[in-house]
Symmetry: C2
Subunit: 103 residues, 2 copies
C-alpha cells in the first residue's frame, strides 16, 4: 500500500497564526494514537508571517480520508475556520528516504 | 535550538523524474548516518508528472548548511543538474507535531 502525503498551506488572518497553530498542535496530539498517521508536523513559514504549513504523511490514502470524517477533526476545522483566509494543498506520493519506514 | 525545515520542489526534465529520484534516494541513504538530519523524504507529485518534492527537517540550520558543503552532496548535485529544469525551496520552522521529537 502506498503512503499518502500532503503539504497543507494555511493562510491565517493577520495576527492569528499562533492561535491557528495551537489548534493544529491539538490535532497532532490527538493523532498520536492513530497508527496510520505517520507524520503531522506544524511549520511556520520562515519568510511570510501569516503562513503556516502542515506536513502530513499517512500509511494509505484511506486513513487520511477517514481522519476527515472524525468528529474531533470536524470540531477542529470549525474552530480553525474563523482564523483562516485560505488553504491550499499539494498532494504527494512519498517514495522513500530517511525518517519514515518504507517497505 | 530551533529545527530547520524545507520543502524543495524539483522540476525534472521530461521523463527524468525517476532518474532524479534515484540520486536523491542515494543522498537520503547517505544521510542515515547524519544524526542532525531528521527527515529527508522523496515524494512524487500526485498531479504533475515531472515534479518531485523533498521534505527535509534538520536539527538546526547549521547542520543543513554543513551538509551542502560535503563532497558527497556536491557530487550528487553535479549528477542531478542535467536532469533538472528548476528548483524552488520553501523554508520552514517546524514548531511541533507528530513524527519528530520536539523539546
Amino acid at each position: 500500500m502506498s503512503k499518502y502525503g500532503m503539504y497543507a498551506k494555511f493562510t491565517a488572518q493577520p495576527g492569528k497564526r499562533d492561535a491557528l497553530a495551537e489548534i493544529l498542535l491539538e490535532s497532532a496530539a490527538a493523532a498520536e494514537t492513530v497508527e496510520e498517521c505517520e507524520l503531522y508536523i506544524i511549520n511556520f513559514s520562515e519568510t511570510e508571517p501569516d503562513i503556516l504549513w502542515v506536513t502530513e504523511v499517512w500509511s494509505n490514502p484511506e486513513a487520511h480520508a477517514a481522519s476527515l470524517s472524525l468528529e474531533a477533526t470536524k470540531a477542529a476545522i470549525q474552530r480553525a475556520m474563523p482564523l483562516i483566509t485560505g488553504v491550499e494543498s499539494t498532494k504527494l506520493k512519498p517514495v522513500g528516504g530517511k525518517g519514515l519506514s518504507f517497505n
